[in-house]
């Protein structure tokens, strides 16, 4: 046999049509844009603290290197740094979750918010807060007292994963996932979970305003008042999801021609689905449990990236880790520059952006959807 030519295709770097941008180049562009937005996010705010030197010193002091800044400035720097760190993790986790789900379900319309995973995580987090936040005795759990973000995240994850499996099981007939059924089940799950959430909130609102405030946060996504613990939590959840990527990236590429086809090629499709759905649920749960429901990041980012670099998950999923934070933090920065920190939370911003985007996606694919 003759040696392979230099133009031979590679599994790791598929030969893409020429109009596509090389993933490395796009990563550089996104990374640069993200760096600019991170710096901007550290500078912009209601308090005047835009001197990069002082911000840098404040950040070093935060890490225990050097003297802290005078007065309230150190607090402001730390507050903004935590906010940025949380936003980076939340954006990355949501986009990665969406990218994984779109791969498993072989459909661009899938995302954690649309098929109900985010709502499930939100319900889990709310119940977690209720049970662990003083309501334990109501449920007969005397030992579980005190608020613990880790346990809230764990509750969010269990619920997110349960919803992911429920939705997948309901939308699967004869070993095949039906996308229309998936989306309809998503609607039903979102409505049901929404009702349950409202019931939980109403019950809590009646008795305790403090608790109700904490619960409301989970419904309208926010990046305000986050602590280091929150930032760490979302990054740990995200790291868990990232660890799964080498085991599913190429396999999800093979899913693109249908699950049965992938199975025929030797893919353990059940294992890949389990790993990818778990990772997607973990990432979504981590994001939702620290920042509440922020819709559409998981829909928009993987979709746009796929248009630019093509469908190979080995490029697509890592790029989601840059694209997600870029969208979330970029929109957040824009909001603060334009409205000067008005009460327009990131969750609201994303819904305003994402809703029309979803409609646009439906319109573009109208012909294909009508044949479902």
């Amino acid at each position: 046999m003759s040696p392979p030519s230099s133009r031979a295709p590679s599994l790791r770097a598929p030969s893409a049509p020429p109009r596509r941008l090389a993933p490395g180049r796009l990563a550089a562009v996104l990374g640069l844009a993200l760096a600019v937005i991170v710096v901007g996010s550290l500078q912009v705010g209601t308090s005047d603290l835009s001197d990069l030197g002082r911000i840098g010193r404040g950040l070093l002091a935060m890490l225990g290197l050097g003297e802290p800044l005078a007065g309230a400035e150190q607090t402001i720097v730390e507050w903004r740094a935590v906010r940025v760190l949380t936003a980076l993790g939340v954006g990355a986790a949501l986009a990665l979750s969406g990218g994984l789900l779109q791969g498993v379900f072989q459909n661009d319309l899938a995302s954690p918010s649309i098929i109900g995973i985010s709502a499930g995580a939100s319900l889990g987090a709310s119940l977690g807060i209720l049970i662990l936040g003083g309501y334990a005795t109501v449920f007969g759990l005397d030992a579980a007292t005190g608020f613990s973000p880790l346990l809230v995240t764990a509750c969010a994850f269990v619920f997110a994963l349960s919803i992911a499996w429920l939705v997948t099981a309901l939308a699967t007939t004869g070993g095949r996932i039906s996308v229309p059924t998936l989306l309809l089940v998503g609607i039903a799950v979102n409505a049901t979970v929404g009702g349950l959430l409202a019931a939980v909130h109403w019950l809590a609102l009646r008795d305790e305003l403090e608790l109700a405030r904490a619960l409301i946060t989970w419904t309208f996504g926010t990046l305000d008042d986050r602590t280091v613990q929150h930032a760490v939590l979302v990054w740990v959840g995200l790291a868990g999801a990232i660890a799964v990527l080498p085991l599913v990236c190429f396999e999800l590429d093979l899913f693109a021609s249908g699950e049965e086809d992938a199975h025929g090629l030797g893919v353990d499709t059940r294992r890949v689905k389990f790993l990818a759905l778990s990772a997607a649920s973990l990432a979504a749960a981590a994001a939702v449990s620290v920042a509440g429901q922020i819709a559409f990041v998981g829909l928009i980012v993987p979709h746009l990236l796929r248009l630019i670099v093509g469908p190979a998950h080995r490029a697509l999923l890592p790029l989601c880790l840059l694209g997600g934070p870029l969208l979330l933090l970029g929109a957040d920065l824009l909001r603060r520059v334009v409205w000067g920190g008005a009460e327009l939370q990131p969750g609201v911003m994303m819904s305003l952006l994402g809703g029309p985007f979803f409609l646009l996606l439906l319109l573009r694919n109208r012909a294909g959807i009508q044949s479902w």
């Binding site: 893409a16 199975h263 030797g266 469908p311």
Partner: protein
């Protein structure tokens, strides 16, 4: 006597609903054999192939791959031993044809799915054999139906499996490529592979197959050489159509039967 790597015993399968798609089929696929599976629409031909390659789990009976129960063999090893060429794909991914064919190497790849120069070489040879070498850079969404069928064959060849199960590979090919695909399958069988091909083309089956298996309502109703099967007594109870029968010189000397659906 040649080895028999793939054996189906008393295979049965039911889809939701009252009908049994496959109902007690025995089939042995020997090394160096090209078996054609024919039968009317809905006879269970595709279901039988999917049972034999593990895409469907039989509700009765068992499949033995190299003497081992198919269900006990892991998916990657299974893909190295038996390759399936589907009639069509669930969806067409927007990837380059060469990358798609490389998917056939999945069962051979290591833990992190990294391809080696050998994998790329196998892909190149497979694409040449299936006559799709010139399509390597093209997106799979931009190939014709006939080209896609040859790409699917190329991908199965890249699996380098002993047994090759092919589901209607010529349904959207022009006569030239129909002959080319069957010539390729026959050559693979002559090289020692075990090939089973589902087809509606009785004459391609006659020319190239060493054995023809006739399936009707999920059961094997006849099996044998083209001369034994392509006869009015066998075909007309199954197809209910009237055929004209004749003989023509075949590949490698000797005559082969042909049949022509002819009304009136």
């Amino acid at each position: 006597m040649s080895a028999v790597p793939l054996i189906g015993r008393s295979l049965a399968h039911e889809y939701p609903g009252p009908l049994r798609a496959v109902d007690g089929v025995d089939l042995e696929l020997a090394e160096g054999e090209l078996a054609a599976v024919i039968g009317p629409n809905g006879a269970g031909k595709s279901t039988l192939l999917k049972l034999l390659c593990g895409l469907l789990t039989p509700s009765g009976g068992e499949v033995l791959l190299d003497g081992r129960a198919l269900g006990k063999i892991g998916p990657r090893e299974r893909a190295r031993r038996v390759a399936f060429v589907p009639q069509a794909l669930g969806a067409l991914p927007e990837v380059a044809v060469a990358h798609f064919v490389l998917g056939g190497r999945y069962g051979h790849l290591g833990r992190w799915s990294r391809s080696t120069p050998h994998d790329l070489d196998v892909v190149r040879v497979a694409m040449e054999q299936a006559d799709v070498a010139e399509l390597g850079e093209r997106s799979l969404t931009r190939v014709s139906g006939g080209q896609l069928q040859r790409v699917l064959v190329a991908r199965a060849l890249a699996q380098e499996a002993q047994s090759l199960l092919v589901d209607e590979p010529t349904s959207s090919l022009d006569p030239e490529h129909q002959l080319a695909i069957f010539t390729l399958l026959a050559r693979l069988a002559e090289g020692g592979r075990s090939v089973a091909v589902v087809t509606h083309d009785l004459n391609l089956a006659s020319q190239f197959a060493s054995r023809i298996v006739v399936l009707a309502a999920g059961r094997v109703v006849a099996a044998g050489t083209p001369d034994e099967v392509l006869r009015a007594e066998v075909l007309e109870p199954v197809y209910g159509a009237h055929f004209r029968y004749g003989r023509l010189p075949g590949r490698g000397g000797g005559e082969r039967p042909f049949v022509l659906p002819w009304s009136g």
